[in-house]
Subunit: 544 residues, 2 copies
Amino acid sequence: MSTAGPSPFETDLDKNPANYMPMHPSRFLERAAETFPGRTAMIHGARRFTYAEQHERSVRLASALARRGIGAGDTVALMGSNTPESLEAHFGVPMTGAVLNPLNIRLDAAIIAFILDHGGAKVLLTDTEFAPTVEAALGIARVKPLVIDIDDGEGPGGKRLGEMDYEELIGEGDPDYDWPGVEDEWQAIALSYTSGTTGDPKGVVYHARGAYMNALGNAVTWAMPHRPVYLWTLPMFHALGWCFPWSVAIMGGTHVGLRKVEAQAIFRSIADNGVTHMCGAPIVLSTLINAPEEDRVPFEQSVKVFTAGSAPAPAVLDGIAKLGFDVTHVYGLTEVFGPSAHCAWQEAWDGLSGDALAEQKARQGVAYPTMDGGMIVADPVTLEPVPRDGATMGEILKRGNSIMKGYLKNPKATDAAFAGGWFHTGDLAVWHPDGYVQIRDRSKDIIISGGENISSIEVEAALYAHPDIAEAAVVAKPHERWEETPCAFVGLRPGAALTEAEVIEWCRSRLAHYKCPTAVVFGELPKTSTGKIQKFRLREQAAG
Amino acid sequence: MSTAGPSPFETDLDKNPANYMPMHPSRFLERAAETFPGRTAMIHGARRFTYAEQHERSVRLASALARRGIGAGDTVALMGSNTPESLEAHFGVPMTGAVLNPLNIRLDAAIIAFILDHGGAKVLLTDTEFAPTVEAALGIARVKPLVIDIDDGEGPGGKRLGEMDYEELIGEGDPDYDWPGVEDEWQAIALSYTSGTTGDPKGVVYHARGAYMNALGNAVTWAMPHRPVYLWTLPMFHALGWCFPWSVAIMGGTHVGLRKVEAQAIFRSIADNGVTHMCGAPIVLSTLINAPEEDRVPFEQSVKVFTAGSAPAPAVLDGIAKLGFDVTHVYGLTEVFGPSAHCAWQEAWDGLSGDALAEQKARQGVAYPTMDGGMIVADPVTLEPVPRDGATMGEILKRGNSIMKGYLKNPKATDAAFAGGWFHTGDLAVWHPDGYVQIRDRSKDIIISGGENISSIEVEAALYAHPDIAEAAVVAKPHERWEETPCAFVGLRPGAALTEAEVIEWCRSRLAHYKCPTAVVFGELPKTSTGKIQKFRLREQAAG
C-alpha cells in the first residue's frame, strides 16, 4: 500500500539541536552534578568529593587540556590506580573530544613504550607509584608526551617525572569551560590495549555511543538502585572500568577508590562505606574466601558482585555466597566495552543451591538488553548457528551498539574481528537449550586426547571443588599414544597437603577417566598483569 | 597539538553491521522473549501471555501487516483500550517500519475522522467498545483504512466494523518473520495527536531513537527492579504509554491490563497480581483516596507511582502515601515521549512530612539522566535563563534525544516549537535555587489581578488542602476594577457541605488576600477525554 514519493513522516522533520545530540557519557556526570551537587561522588581514603566537586575537577581537567591544544584525535594516556584522578580522566578527557588511553599498570616498560608510541600519546597522566616503569618507558618511547604526575596520598609515593602534578594542571582549568564533547557519537573517546597473548597488543578504539549505551546497559541489567555505593575492586584500566565510571553517575551513586585488591582493605571498605556493588575477576572472590579470619570485617548488607574474566568455579560461587555476596556472572571483552552479557536469573533456579545452582550461575548467559544484535554461538566461517544442545561447540559472535570501532591502525585485525558482519569473540562455547551460552574453552585451551575434546574448564571446575585446592589450571601435555593428556597445575590452601595420586583420584570420582589429569604439578600459578593465569607458560612447562 | 590529516581514530574504523544498529524499541521484547520465554509478560483478566507468546503475537501482527503491504511511511491507527492487543501493536507495528497512531479513545467521531485523514491511516485496529464512535468517524473520514476489530472478552462487547478480527489477522502472520524495523533510527515509528486545546490537533511524530532512549530513561530514573509488575492505570494512548510498553520489557516485567480507572478494579489488581508500579494523572490518585471503604482491598507491597499531567496537590500526595503508594512526580509532554523530567529525591528530604514534604514533591524537578540536553527555564525569545530564585517566571525549554521529530505536515508549528534550538514546552515556571523546576502556570492560566500575577495552581493547592474538597480549579473572572479575579470551581466530597463564604475564608487563612477567589461555584468539574479539567469551559462559565 505504500505510496510513492517522499513520506510525510520524513519531510520537514529533520534533526535539530533540540531533538538530537550526540550521545556522550560525560553528560551523565553533568546531570548528576546539577541534580545532586552535595552528594558524595567519590570516597578515597580521607578524601571525599561531592558531585559538584567531581564535576568541577573533571571540567577543569578538560579545560586545562584544551588550553594546551588537546582535542579530537589526540591521545591522553593514563597510568593510574583506582583513584579520583583516574575517574576524573574518564569524564574530563572525553569532554575535550580527545581519546583517553588507560594503561595496564602491571605492564613492563617495553610494552608501555610500545603503547605510548602506537597510540600517539600527547599527554601522560601517571601515578607516582609507577614512576620506575614509566620513567624507563619514556626513555624507550619515541613520543614525548607532556607528563603530569598524580601524587595520591593513599599511594606509596614515588618519583615525580613530569612538568607539574595533576592538581596544578587542573588548577589551570576554567571551571565554567563549555566543553565541546564530540560532534558525532561515532567519534573515538577512548583506547584500550588488549593484553596481547598472541603478538603485539592491539588498540581497541571506543566510540562515545557505545560507552553511553553500555553505561545504561549495566544499570538496567543489574537493576541498579538509586545511590549505589560502588567499590573499585575492578582495575579501572580494564575496558574503561566496564563503563562503571558512567553507570554510577547515572544512578547518582558513590564511587569508592581502592589501590590494591587486598582482602582486609576490601572488607573494611565494605563495612565502613556501606558498599553495595563491586566488580572483578573470580580471583577477587577467591581472595575474599581465602582471607584469614583476622582480615575479615563483618558487614550487614548484601553486596552485589559482577564477575567475569573466567567462569567462576562452583566452589567459589558457593563460598562467596556464604560471605554475603550476591554474584552474577557477566561476560564481555575489551572489544565490547566490558560486560555485554550476563547470566540472567531465572525463576526456576529459586530453589537451587550448591552445585546445581553453581552449574547454572557459572554460565556466561545471554546478551544485555542493550546489545540489540544479540549473541549467538555459530560456526565462525559459515556463521551458521550451532544447535542449542549444550554440546556442539561454536564461536561466540556478537552484534550491537556497544562494540568497538575496531583496532587502531590495524585494518587487517579489524576486518578479521568483524568477518561476516559479526564480532568474533574468539571464545568457543556451547549453546544450551535455554539460550544461555557457556564457554567451553578458548580454542587453544582445548585438550584433544585420543580424538576426544576435553574442556580444560571442566577439569578445572572439578579441581576447584576440592576443599584444599585454592587455584587450578589445566593444559595439554603431549602424549605419545593419546597425542595430548590433561596436566593439572594446582595451588593449595595454606596448611593443606595433597599428593598427585590424591588429586587424580579426586578427579576420577567426578569426571570421565579420559578427562582426568595424568600429571599434577603443585605450586603458585603464573599470572598475567591482569590476574589471568598464564596458560602459555604452563603449556611450556607441561611440554618440557 | 592536533596533527593535520585524517585522524587514525577515524580511519578504517567505520560502522559495520556488527558494531552499529539502528536503535529500535521492539528489540527489547525480542531479547526478553529469548531470555525469559516462559515468564508472564501480560495479565489481562483471565488471559495470560508469556514473553514467548507476546513476542510471537507481535511478530505475527508485524508479518500479517507486512503481507498486506504495510511498511515504512504507512500509518496503522489504534483505537484501543489497555489490553494485550494494544500492547502488541506497540511492538508489532514498528517492527514493520510502519507508524503506530494510537487514538485517544475519548475523542468524538469528528476529531477521530480528522486524525485518520491527517495521519493517512491505512489500517485501523479498533476495540469493539468504541464501535459507535469509530463507525461514525469512518463515515466522515476520506481515508478508507482496512478495519480490524479487537474483541476483548474483558470489554463490554460491541458491533464489529471490520473485515476480520485481530486474532484472525495475526493468525495470517508468520511467527518466524524476520522483521525489518527501521533502516535509520531517526525514522518515524509512531504518531500521537495532542489534545488540541488551541485549534486542530497536532500530530507528534516519534522516532525510533527517542522511544528506545526514553524506555531506558524510565528504567534508570525510576531504578526499576527486575520483574516489575506494571498496572496500566495510564491510558496507553498517552504519549506511547510514556514508553512503558518497552521499559517493562527491558526489566523483564509483567504488564497488567486495565480497561477503566475504577478504584475497586485497581485495588483488586494490586492485591491479586502483586502490582509494583503504575502511572497516571493525579486524578487516578484522587480516585483511590476518595474510594469508599467497600471498594478497597488491602495489599502488602509498596506500589511506586509516577504521576504527571498536573502538579499533585499536597493533600493528594499526603493521602496517597498513607494508602501505601510511593509517588514520584514526573513531568513531560506528548512531544517528549511522555515523562522526561522527575522530582528526584534528595537526602535532605528524608526527615520531611506533611506539607513540607508535599511542597518539595509537587515540583516538576530535573531532567531524566537520558535527557542529555537538559531542561532550563528561560525567556522564550532571548533564551536567556531566568535566575534560580524560585520567583522569576520563564518558559520551560528542553533539549535531548527523546524529543519528537516535529509535527506532521505542519512545518510552521514545528519551527515554532523548536525556535532557537530548544523545544518550547509552553509551560511557565520558576527555577528554584536547587535547580528544580516548578510550573506556575500555562500562560493562559495565569490570572492577572490589579497587575499582580496570580498562579491558579497555588490557589488550587490551597483549595485541595481543605478536607471537604475533592477537586478544584481556578480561572480568571473578568472584573471591572482589577481586570481579573480568581473564580473557584469546587467539587465536594460525598456528604460534605460548604458555603462560598467558608471557602473564601479558608483561602484567606492560607493565601495573600489578592489571590483568594471572589466567587465559588460548586459542582462536578468538566474534564477532557484525557481527564484534564477543561479550564476553557470554566473560563466561559466564569465570564458569563
